[in-house]
Amino acid sequence: MKGLMGKIAGGALAALIAIGGGAPAAHAAGKTLYLFNWQDYIGKGLIKKFEAYCGCNVVQTYYDSNSELDAKLRAGGDSQYDVVVPSSYYIPQLVQQGLIRKLDKSKLPNFKNLLPRFQNVSYDPHDTHVVPYQWGTIVIGYNKDKIKNPPESWAALFDPKYNASYPFSMMKGSGRDLIGAACAYLGEGFACKTKAAWIKAAKLIEKQVKRPNFSGFVDGDPTMQQLKKGVVAIGMTWSGSVAQCYADKTCLNIGWILPKEGSEAWVDNMAIPTHAPNPELAYKFINFILGAKEGAELSNFNMYPSPNAASEPYLDKAIKQPLVTPTAAQMKRLSFLPALTPAQAKEFGAIWTAVRQH
């Protein structure tokens, strides 16, 4: 009895350990790069090129938000992933928690390829911890058949005058983007940092929620899908999502607006967690992405502008359109999201939760 049960139990336990133990064994062999990235952010072709270049295997895992990245890193992920891709406004927080390590620039000879604007950035002085990966903007996407001649302003989204009856959505996620948009519309500037400004913005958003044609809080990529399917007629989305759609030729009736009051320029960056199992491979990967041709291949795939000056001659024409790479005049309207101290982050979190609860 105990013998039979014990044998079964022992067999199953051995099987389980073999499954689970297989992974750390591959770790130790030093030939696997664990990449933790956003979905659809790097093409399969580029990954294969890197695998051939380094003679290693790449295992990709995905996350949907910076807070998920933060949680997974804090729960032990900082010793399991080699390269992570956080957004600019989150980086001071990660550095403060000791989750990402200082970069050794001598191992990144391609660093000099970056545009001057992306070197010595405000969210990472002297580029000690991260290297820019891709950047982009937030735009308003709208259905040209339903919403005629919207203004080049956040009013297209927030003012019922321009959209009395068609469903619209607002951006979900951390709330930094939406509150920033509301701040910009109210004249406080997209990069508003004070509690008073946030509360004014939150009140505006709550008024929007009460409009009968509000369809919900939706993230950037799903908003694009909903615009395509006609579920919403106007919403906030990423510039690259719209560009990808144009490239597929599946949404020729979708227009985009970069509001004149201001919008966000965000930068996603590559970082190496503190206890990464394979930092050498991580450096190789980062340097590889910073290469001229590889940077261009990355941008051509995900349709976001490249921070890499050397990639410029290899970029597709589609990347050079103003939707993806804003003109100098448009660049003046864009701001980075400011990093928040933990106390400010808590305040912001409380305000955003209150907004979401309506």
């Binding site: 499954i19 659809d40 032990g76």
Partner: protein, 279 residues
Amino acid sequence: MAISMGKSTRRSLLAMSLPVYLLLYAPLLLIAIFSFAPPPLAKGQTFYWYADLLHSPEVIAAFRRSLTLAIGSSILGTALGTLMGFGLYRYRDRNATGIASALPSLIIYTPIIMPSLVFGISELIFFSFIHSATGFLAAGLLTMGIAHVTFEAPFVALVVFARLSGLDPNMFEASHDLYADARQSFLHLTVPVIRPAIIGGFLLAFTLSIDDFTISFFTAGPGSTTLPIYIYSAVARKGVSPDINALATLMIATVIGTGLLQYMFTRNRARKLVARPGD
């Protein structure tokens, strides 16, 4: 044991329960129907999306992981659960009252009652603490397996205990009279009798593991994406599309099939093996 009821009572109960079943299963039916939608620039219902699944390496990998995890954790969970169920039955104190009588089952059945979100988060905290203290148990398939075994075993224990409770206790007396010691009683009396419960419990554990999302999500590590996690991130990214519908339909079919198997095993043989006075 069937409760005797009149024809009209039976009919009215059916009339009340059918709409409820419809409400519960209509969404699943819709998913299945939409999985046959035509791909862009084509017409008519097709199996296109099912074939597409077979060509996606990520889906195949997630499926393999789900299956490995489910089978491994179900075997271990069933073994543990059977022992727990038997222990609950054998060592229950028939004279205890109030809390003392409920305490052993309360402790064992806690993972059933606990919300899986709370369970998943507590497992995450536990494993990350162990990992930072000792360096073992990095998040991955092993931690997922341990978490799955922990929440499956009580379900199996419940099924086995329920089966044992339906036994005539005199049979154990009878086997003692025939000079069987505890080990022989267990091997030759208890196990054959509860075998349908063990198999049923295994199938139940298998279903729970294949379907589980929240606990897997929190205890997952690099490269340990299972099917539910894959579906979740695909839906979060681009909304529901026919290929996700196809995947979901396959999972629903698997779970329904396993459920039917489980029902057959835990029901049929029971009648034959329980000795009733006057047989």
